[in-house]
């Protein structure tokens, strides 16, 4: 078994989304999860710019400027869709009605803190979008990321060093080399891909429960 590529990771996350769930897929990589959802599962996609029943990203040739996802890509509309304005859309998120949201992350802490909006670099222009609202509002916040940054440092950490998006909100972390559940008792490893238990525990500073492996 080798580490998951982007497509395989998206497929891995998709396989865990419960039938009938209302789901928000964050900008960037999580958008790809939509392609791997079984249409028969009845999963309904929410986009925070005001829609339930969003379909997939469509080619530019079919683009309707008035119909985009949160990443401003053109998308399609599925039967049973509904449009609503921004206050209603975020009320839906913040009121705890979404079953799952999946976001990328710079860092996730062992306690489920999420950092994904700002690197803290002094010259970076801050931009948060709906990330804090999703972190605060969805019933389950799942993260999808590579486990290690390009310089090899782990992104699952004892405590986030980047500015937070939300406190104690992440419940699952899907990475290219392992899947983690953030539980009250600690971080549990569900599966691994191309990494040994020893390597994983040696490279991650967070205590891991790897009993199931």
């Amino acid at each position: 078994m080798t580490a998951l590529d982007k497509e395989a990771l998206a497929r891995r996350v998709a396989s865990d989304i419960p039938a009938g769930a209302y789901v928000n897929l964050g900008i960037g990589q999580p958008t790809a999860i939509a392609r791997f959802l079984d249409p028969a599962s009845g999963v309904v996609l929410h986009t925070e710019n005001g829609m339930l029943g969003m379909g997939e990203v469509v080619p530019d040739a079919e683009a309707d400027q008035d119909l985009t996802n949160a990443g401003k890509q053109p998308v399609s509309e599925l039967p049973g869709a509904a449009y609503f304005h921004h206050a209603d859309s975020f009320a839906m998120m913040r009121g705890g009605h979404l079953d799952v949201c999946v976001m990328g992350a710079f860092q996730v802490s062992a306690g489920g803190d999420l950092a994904n909006w700002h690197t803290g670099a002094p010259d970076a222009i801050p931009a948060v979008g709906g990330a804090m609202d999703l972190a605060a509002g969805a019933k389950e916040v799942w993260v999808m990321m590579t486990l290690f940054a390009k310089d090899g440092t782990p992104k699952l950490v004892p405590a986030c060093t980047y500015p937070l998006t939300g406190k104690a909100c992440v419940t699952r972390v899907y990475t290219d080399v392992a899947t983690f559940l953030i539980e009250p008792s600690g971080v549990r490893v569900v599966d691994t891909f191309g990494i040994s238990a020893d390597e994983l525990t040696s490279r991650i500073e967070v205590p891991l429960d790897i009993r199931v492996l």
Binding site: P18, G20, V44, L52, G80, M92
Partner: protein, 220 residues
């Protein structure tokens, strides 16, 4: 999670003794009469009911009150020409009453559905209904702090649903339905007709399916 379509009695099985039940309708417009009838048959009691009025005549909410199932009413306008059931219970001390300005009733449920912890509200300042409540002056104006009203179950009436649970309403029967649907753990909508997904105009959906757990079709 997926919206189910079922009979009225099965649907109201979600209500437990002691629950807070949000009941739609403004007078009879939008009143989910058949769901209330099923709730009476189901038998849950010791309920707190949130509704604009406290029952009209002898049917619907009035019948639930008459059956002795309601411990407390939270409403804006209990006293009406035909609210004799409630009036008798209240005068004989058999029911609690919390009177809430109509806008606060709506906004407090909206806050529950929207994840708002509390809000500073312009209504009721300096009146008996704000007595004992926290106030704050913001930009020179006095406001009262109001808290959300969460429901365990909402019983509402809409006009047409699609199979996913998207709802449209009819005229002023819309009233509290869309707000209550967001404020309850479980929302049960009585509708005149269920159509296929795609048969409703996505621009005209008032309550998106995410807020609806159960549909009960009652042709009218």
């Amino acid at each position: 999670m997926r919206t189910t379509i079922t009979g009225a009695l099965e649907a109201v099985g979600a209500v437990r003794d002691g629950d807070t039940v949000l009941v739609g309708g403004f007078g009879m417009a939008g009143m989910p009469v058949e769901l209330i009838d099923a709730l009476i048959e189901h038998g849950a009691g010791d309920l707190t009911v949130v509704s604009n009025n406290a029952g009209n005549g002898d049917t619907g909410l009035a019948a639930l009150l008459a059956a002795g199932r309601v411990r407390k009413m939270i409403c804006s306008f209990p006293r009406q020409s035909d609210s004799w059931v409630f009036d008798d219970l209240y005068r004989s001390g058999k029911i609690e009453l919390e009177v809430v300005p109509q806008g606060n009733l709506a906004e407090r449920m909206r806050a529950a559905g929207a994840g708002i912890g509390a809000f500073y509200c312009p209504t009721g300042v300096g009146t008996p209904l704000a007595e004992g409540k926290e106030t704050r002056v913001i930009d020179g104006r006095e406001f009262v702090l109001e808290y959300p009203i969460h429901g365990d179950v909402a019983l509402i009436r809409a006009h047409v649903a699609d199979r996913l649970g998207n709802l449209v309403y009819r005229k002023t029967a819309r009233n509290f339905g869309p707000v209550m649907a967001t404020a309850a753990r479980v929302t049960i909508a009585q509708v005149s007709r269920v159509v296929e997904a795609g048969d409703l105009d996505p621009e005209a959906v008032v309550t998106p399916s995410i807020f609806v757990n159960t549909l009960v079709e009652v042709p009218r």
